[in-house]
């Protein structure tokens, strides 16, 4: 109990103290609150910063890993590409080398073969030489032929000249022009003339031929010489034109048809006809009508009501000439040949000696 009384005695003091303490607490409350807040804020600050730092660190880590990953990926790609390029370059180089070698080989072998070309050019040179030589020989041959021809022609001309001048040949008594007595040997022309014969006198037939030609073609193109000369002066007297006289004189033979025809013309014509027939025949066996009928030998019997008293004569016995000759005796025979009418044939082309037109 004492304790209780002790306690009770101290109660007053305790109360007092209680109030003091409360007052002191009240007095310090604001301060302490502020202090508590400060402590808390610091602590929370530290905590948050630590957390943020932690987050940052993690983010950096993640970014670092990712970047490293992607960069490695890119690098690997670049490396591959670089490797590939290098490989391609090498391949290209090698391809160029192969192609170059092949192309060189191919061209040298087939397109521009140096040795083949050389052989070709050598062959060509040889061929050219050959051609040149051949042509030279040919030209020489031709030249010689021409030369020979020319000498022959000259020789012939000289012969003709010698013939023409044959009258200048020296005789036993009198030396000719070309055989000078002052020379020891006769001239070339003299020798030639000795061997030549004098020309024959012009035969009329040759002359006629020439005239005939002249008459025939007076209008040859570009041949003015063929025209008969134009006389400026007419000869005195009632002469005919020389042209006309020539025509009359050398006119060709104009036989009548009768004379011109051969006496055996008819026979010849028949013979010719027969031969022509024989030649042109296609089938050799002559054609016999009704050759295969059985009643070949039997006589043809006409129908009774078609029969007439005027029978036809048998084939082959019909005559187209008059059979009774006595009727014909008064008649003149048929003329097969007529004389031509001279007046019309020769009118204006001929004249008689008396100057009359025939």
């Amino acid at each position: 109990m004492a304790q209780l009384v002790n306690l009770l005695s101290r109660i007053e003091r305790v109360r007092e103290e209680y109030f003091v303490r409360i007052r002191i607490a009240e007095e310090n409350r604001a301060l302490e609150h502020a202090a508590a807040v400060k402590i808390q804020s610091w602590f929370r600050g530290c905590q948050t910063r630590a957390y943020l730092r932690y987050l940052n660190k993690k983010a950096t880590l993640m970014q670092k890993i990712w970047r490293g990953f992607s960069a490695r990926r890119i690098f690997r790609k670049m490396l591959e590409a670089a490797f590939f390029t290098r490989k391609m370059n090498l391949c290209n180089q090698m391809a160029v080398r192969i192609q170059k070698t092949w192309r060189g080989y191919y061209v040298r072998q087939y397109v521009h073969n140096y040795y083949a070309r050389k052989i070709y050019l050598e062959g060509l040179t040889r061929k050219n030489e050959e051609v040149r030589k051949t042509l030279e020989e040919f030209a020489e041959f031709q030249r010689r032929m021409r030369e020979q021809e020319r000498t022959e022609r000259e020789e012939r001309e000289k012969c003709i000249l010698a013939q023409k001048m044959h009258f200048l040949l020296s005789t036993k008594q009198c030396p000719g022009v070309y055989n000078s007595p002052f020379r020891d040997s006769p001239g070339e022309m003299e020798l030639r003339m000795r061997s030549a014969k004098p020309p024959l006198a012009k035969s009329p037939s040759r002359h006629k031929d020439r005239i005939g030609k002249k008459m025939e073609s007076p209008t040859e193109a570009g041949s003015a010489t063929h025209l008969p000369p134009i006389r400026t002066k007419k000869p005195q007297g009632p002469f005919r034109q020389p042209l006309e006289v020539w025509q009359q004189r050398y006119r060709p033979l104009e036989p009548t048809l009768r004379v011109a025809t051969s006496i055996t013309a008819l026979e010849e014509a028949r013979e010719e006809l027969r031969r022509e027939e024989w030649r042109g025949r296609v089938v050799d066996h002559p054609f016999h009508p009704f050759s295969n009928t059985s009643r070949q030998s039997e006589k043809y019997e006409p129908l009774i009501h078609a029969s007439a008293p005027f029978e036809q004569v048998a084939y082959g016995t019909k005559h187209f000439r008059e059979e009774k000759k006595e009727i014909l005796q008064e008649k003149e025979p048929f003329k097969t040949v007529f004389t031509s009418c001279q007046v019309f044939d020769k009118f204006g082309r001929l004249y008689s000696n008396a100057g009359k037109i025939v």
Binding site: R117, L124, V131, L135, P218, L227
Partner: protein, 568 residues
């Protein structure tokens, strides 16, 4: 008596008519009489005589008319206007052979002058009558008719076509086979005239088998016939490859070459023309001509001929060389270049020169080897002269320029190029400098020669516009040589015309032996001459040393004394 008198009047009339036509025909042969005859109205007087009852008078009248019309185109026109042609054509079908011949002569004389007159002849229906005359038996008539047809066909393609349509070609081909030389000749000439205009016409002639008959006559001894035959063959083959091949297939070739030695120059010319026409088509045909030795024969023929006759031969060489480089080489191997060079010197006429220059261009444009062959024949200076000559025709100048350009672009033969450095104009010089700038960097021997022959100095004297192609080429030439030499040369090139003589003297006197020395010899030589010491000499290439000596010899100044100027 009275009958005689009456007849005498007629006779006299006939006689004087005869005399008149004969006199006129005689007078018409002389050209100085023609004008007087024309003024006297001879055409209108002869016209009724064409219808005369006497054949001789008719013929002589036709002959006189033909001679008159032959003389001038005025008279030929007068004949056409006088309405004489229908009469002639009518009687061409009716009358005897002499008259036919004379009438064909008149038609020919009229048709020969101009296309219009020939057309007038065609319009009056002469073709059919002439074609009928070709079937005549008489060779004279055939000849006259073929001649007239040829003259009509000669003018242009339409007239030629009308001749073909009248059916003349088969008959002309028959005439070619006649025994008479004159008929053959005229027929071949007419075929040539017909086929010259167009491929179709030539094909028509070929279709009738003309080539075989023409080819048979190549070795005929008659020169005039050969002329016409070769002319016909060349006119046929000029149109197309097919036709040319057909001519070749007729085995014309080794035989035709023999005619290049013919004494008649027109035969030779026509043969060369034929070869040209064949060779120009394809490389294969050219090759064929080359392989049978045609090029050698043509080159020989160029040596034998003069003036215009040469022209087809020259062109043939050009055509052959133009096709392929081995064909051009064949021309060179056959000694064509020297022959062409002779032609270029001998021929005074511009068109032949132009052809020659063109042929050179075709030969030299293929490879450096070809260009070298042309250049070593000393042709380039001649080409340059022709190009620069104001007297040359425009065509010749253009052709020379083209040829020069083509050859220069391939030429690597420097001795031939150097003369061109002096006197070529800048458009040619460009190509020359280009060739030098391509060769010199790679060829030390050429560099030495270039300096010793004075080429480098000439290059320095060239005035080129800055930035032009020529300037670039000059720069690249200069880069091949040590800079101080170029500078020195450039500095001296203004006032050193006197040095040129020194240069030449020294070049001749002591430079050529030096070229053969080796580097050590050169160095010793320099030291003996006390020109250079130490670093300038040591380690230089023999080229450079050689050039130093050369420069010394030109200017006669010891280079050691002016070494300071070089080191700047």
């Amino acid at each position: 008596m009275t009958q005689r008198q009456v007849l005498q009047a007629f006779e006299q009339y006939q006689r004087s008519r005869t005399q008149f036509v004969q006199t006129v025909a005689e007078l018409a042969t002389r050209p100085q009489n023609i004008e007087t005859l024309q003024h006297a109205g001879v055409v209108s007087l002869l016209r009724p005589l064409l219808l005369d009852g006497v054949p001789t008078i008719q013929q002589t009248a036709a002959l006189a008319l033909g001679r008159l019309a032959n003389h001038s185109d005025d008279l030929a026109e007068a004949v056409v206007k006088g309405g004489i042609l229908p009469q002639l054509v009518y009687s061409l079908a009716e009358q005897n052979r002499f008259y036919k011949k004379a009438a064909a002569f008149v038609l020919r004389a009229v048709a020969k002058h101009s296309p219009e007159l020939a057309q007038a002849v065609v319009d009056c229906g002469a073709l059919d009558a002439l074609v009928l005359c070709l079937e005549e038996f008489d060779p004279g008539v055939k000849e006259a008719a073929a001649w007239a047809l040829g003259y009509i066909a000669r003018h242009n393609a339409e007239l030629s076509l009308s001749v073909v349509e009248a059916g003349a070609v088969p008959l002309l081909v028959l005439c070619v086979q006649e025994p008479e030389i004159a008929v053959r000749r005229i027929a071949a000439s007419s075929l040539s005239d017909i086929s010259k205009h167009s491929p179709e016409l030539a094909q028509t002639v070929v279709d009738t088998g003309a080539i075989a008959y023409l080819a048979q006559m190549i070795l005929n001894p008659d020169a005039k016939l050969k002329r016409q035959v070769f002319s016909a063959l060349s006119q046929i083959s000029k149109h197309s490859v097919d036709l040319a091949e057909m001519v070749v297939e007729a085995e014309v070739f080794p035989a035709a070459l023999a005619c290049l030695k013919d004494p008649d120059e027109y035969v030779r010319k026509n043969v060369a023309t034929l070869m040209r026409e064949i060779a120009k088509h394809t490389p294969e045909l050219s090759q064929m001509v080359v392989n049978c030795g045609g090029v050698a024969a043509v080159i020989d023929y160029l040596g034998d001929s003069r003036a215009n006759v040469r022209l087809p031969g020259i062109m043939m060489l050009g055509y052959v060389a133009a096709h392929r480089e081995n064909l051009a080489m064949a021309v060179i191997v056959s000694r064509g270049v020297s022959q062409l060079a002779i032609c270029l010197v001998e021929e005074p006429e511009d068109h032949i020169k132009a052809a020659t220059v063109w042929a050179f261009g075709q030969i030299g444009r293929h490879t450096p080897e070809h260009a070298r062959a042309v250049a070593s024949a000393n042709v380039l200076p001649k080409l340059l002269d022709l190009y620069m000559d104001p007297g040359s025709s425009e065509d010749l100048q253009a052709k020379s320029k083209r040829a020069l350009k083509g050859i220069l672009q391939k030429c690597t033969h420097l001795p031939a190029l150097e003369p061109l450095l002096c006197d070529a104009p800048s458009n040619i010089l460009k190509h020359v400098a280009c060739q030098f700038s391509k060769i010199l960097p790679h060829d030390s021997q050429a560099r030495r020669l270039f300096v010793t022959s004075g080429g480098l100095k000439k290059v320095q004297e060239i005035e080129a516009e800055a930035g032009s192609a020529l300037q670039e080429h000059i720069n690249s030439i200069n880069n091949c040589f040590p800079a101080e030499i170029v500078r020195r040369l450039r500095a001296r090139s203004d006032g050193v015309s006197a040095a040129v003589s020194v240069l030449q003297r020294h070049t001749a006197a002591w430079h050529h032996p030096l070229q053969l020395l080796h580097a050590s010899d050169l160095r010793g030589c320099l030291q003996r001459l006390r020109l250079f010491h130490g670093p300038l000499v040591v380690g230089r290439s023999p080229d450079t040393l050689f050039i130093y000596i050369y420069i010394y010899s030109i200017y006669q100044t010891p280079l050691s004394s002016s070494r300071a100027t070089y080191d700047q």
